[in-house]
Symmetry: C2
């Protein structure tokens, strides 16, 4: 039980979307054992709000925070510089840290946790993956007894917003613009649409669930930029939709010797999969365990308030003396590529023999065609069609497509999507 006599003093760093929501919940709900004492931001004057109690110290001087008597630093600025150095200094001085910063945790989490432990401080980051959905506490506290064999997730709300809008018929460029206007996507959407944001989250989940420390730069990312409305039309024929899926999986049941496979990118997802059900900016995470089977978490993965809930929950845990369960993990190199069915969209100026030529190029790599889909209503001079192929690796398919790309009848680069297989 937190002692009302000496509540934990909380300093919030970064008074933006999440930081101001955290302050708001602390002020509105006044959770037992916690008191907001400091708010730091650059150019602080413009940030002040009248709902914040007058006892709170507003500052734009980080030294005021680091040398204060605050017990916990809540880092909600984002990015690595200058944040990493400040977090390190805070932990080194024995202050605990709560952060929503996936980049920081994905790249330096292990070292920072070690530092925290050595100083008797705590580092919690429940908000770093899937915002308000308690996946991290779920893994640390509720599924630690299982042996997790795979994770599949929709970890980026921006991509999910774009793709679930495209599912209703819109084109990528239009939805991206809408997402930017709504504040769901940055002016430069690279981090989101090219998969880097999701990859950092996948690294964090792999560590907690698979106990595998992966190097983010090793995990292949495919962009959603090339997905077009026609791909959704063909996905429907396959009883699928398209989602950005982040996945990591142990091959073989023994973690010590089992290979880990991981990737991030758009995939065809069967409509019957829970990963097909999230809409808008929602996130979904599926955790497949050896003993407990599949567990699915879903909800609002982003947004100021949902993310702030995860931050405040971490603070409450700390105030109650609960500690992150420190699960052992080990440096793990990726052990190869997923073997998956793919669908490949071609757009051609139609002439006899095209399918034979494509089939031949695929056959050279040992790839078998499964089916061919061609929707009616297109000009033969600009004809999209889709070929599905039996399981193969992406790089094997890439080699075949490199050869196919030289065919003069091709009007666009062929676009391949992996197909997410239902388990069992």
């Amino acid at each position: 039980m937190p002692s009302p006599a000496s509540p934990l003093k909380v300093a919030v760093l970064g008074f933006g979307t999440v930081g101001s929501s955290v302050a708001r919940i602390l002020v509105d709900r006044q959770p037992q054992g916690l008191v907001l004492t400091h708010i730091y931001n650059r150019n602080i004057a413009r940030k002040k709000k009248d709902w914040v109690p007058s006892t709170v110290c507003w500052t734009e001087d980080i030294e005021t925070i680091l040398s204060s008597d605050a017990d916990v630093i809540v880092e909600l600025m984002g990015g690595l510089d200058p944040v990493a150095g400040w977090v390190e200094r805070a932990l080194a001085s024995g202050k605990s840290v709560v952060t929503a910063n996936k980049k920081l945790i994905a790249t330096q989490g292990i070292a920072l946790e070690k530092l925290a432990r050595s100083k008797g401080a705590h580092l919690l980051y429940g908000a770093a993956v899937a915002g308000g959905i308690p996946v991290i506490p779920g893994l640390q506290q509720g599924l630690a007894g299982d042996q997790v064999l795979r994770i599949e997730g929709i970890l980026n709300g921006t991509c999910n917003f774009i793709l679930s809008k495209m599912e209703q018929g819109a084109e990528y460029a239009d939805v991206l613009k809408e997402a930017q206007e709504l504040g769901y996507a940055e002016a430069d959407p690279t981090e989101d649409v090219d998969g880097f944001d999701a990859r950092a989250k996948l690294v964090i989940l792999s560590r907690l669930a698979l106990r595998a420390d992966l190097d983010p730069s090793e995990i292949p990312c495919r962009s959603i930029r090339a997905v077009s409305a026609i791909d959704f039309a063909y996905a429907k024929e396959l009883d699928c939709t398209i989602r950005q899926i982040s996945r990591a999986e142990i091959r073989g049941e023994d973690l010590a010797s089992g290979d880990v496979l991981a990737s991030v990118g758009p995939m065809l997802v069967p409509k019957a999969s829970p990963l097909a059900w999230s809409h808008g900016t929602e996130n979904t995470v599926l955790v497949g365990g050896k003993y407990g089977g599949d567990v699915v978490f879903s909800g609002h993965g982003a947004g100021g308030h949902p993310t702030a809930v995860a931050v405040v929950s971490d603070l409450i845990s700390m105030a109650h003396g609960s500690r992150a369960v420190d699960l052992p993990s080990r440096k793990t190199a990726l052990g190869g590529e997923f073997l998956l069915r793919h669908s490949i969209r071609f757009v051609v100026d139609d002439r006899p023999g095209i399918i034979a030529e494509i089939a031949q190029a695929l056959a050279v790599e040992g790839i078998n065609i499964h089916a061919i889909f061609q929707k009616p209503g297109f000009e033969t001079s600009n004809l999209p069609f889709v070929v599905t192929v039996e399981p193969c690796t992406s790089s094997c398919l890439r080699r075949a497509l490199d050869r196919i790309e030289t065919m003069s009848c091709l009007l666009e680069k062929p676009f391949a999507l992996q197909i997410l297989e239902p388990e069992g």
Copy 2:
């Protein structure tokens, strides 16, 4: 970090479905900081297994356990007697307890937690609700920062198995028999189908999520026994299915003054709701928060292995020095009834004027008919049809139906189902 030098000594009480799975995971995975030392059961000789290390003490004498040096008692016998007394004695002597016993926690959890605290011991029960799905750690650790306004759940795997099979056309009695043969239902299915098992779980969730201590006996339960195949046919017309739903909700946003409503029973659930998606023995829990919005958890709510995962996860948390976040709750009386749309199935020997008479009886209670559905292909002498009505309370509807039941043309008691409204 658990110390390998002095791991927690674990005594398992009850070597049945869950108890043997817990022992199996402890033996197979050897989680850091935990060692299985004792197994208790009546008539223990027949229970012995050769995969259990020879260092483990098998006993049928509870005093051997209670006077042993075991640090944690894992109670997996079930029921209240003699378990409650033994758990109390264990806690009183400073031993911690992990249990999957929802009955024990629903009725005596608060007192036992208090006892544990006073002795510096811990009581964890992550497996008591939704087995392998980390709803309890999710609420305690991940959503504590939110103000939860409602919970809706599929908390009983047996009912979900029966109803999701009936969705495919089977009749109640046949599916119940199948469930009994598969070991999913007891010879006496009362606890499950009449809602008492789910009610105990709802009481536990209400305490953790709504911070409301409800008296189980106050929560109205409706049985699923009266649901028939024809109800699913009509549900489909309403774009719904039927599930046993346990729900509790705060009316008004202020917990201190807000009323709590709660009930357990079969409901019409819109196909678009995540609560319509679980099949077989799966459980699903939806937690609606003021700040974080809706979070959904789903997975295997029962079965030896999934439940054992939750038990072992609690043990691992304990070994790592993590503590249950002890959220304040207060004794709360139910504040009335849900105001809900209903669908009512009538079976009549058809004659003119029946609808007028029913409408009149409903009108006396101020209940308006919304729509009337009648599927073709039935004899007029044994005609089922369904009437949907505008929002009303169950007891108001009950009064109207009591009057309607006296109509001579009625061949069966009318059967009413509440309709779960999507939020917003």
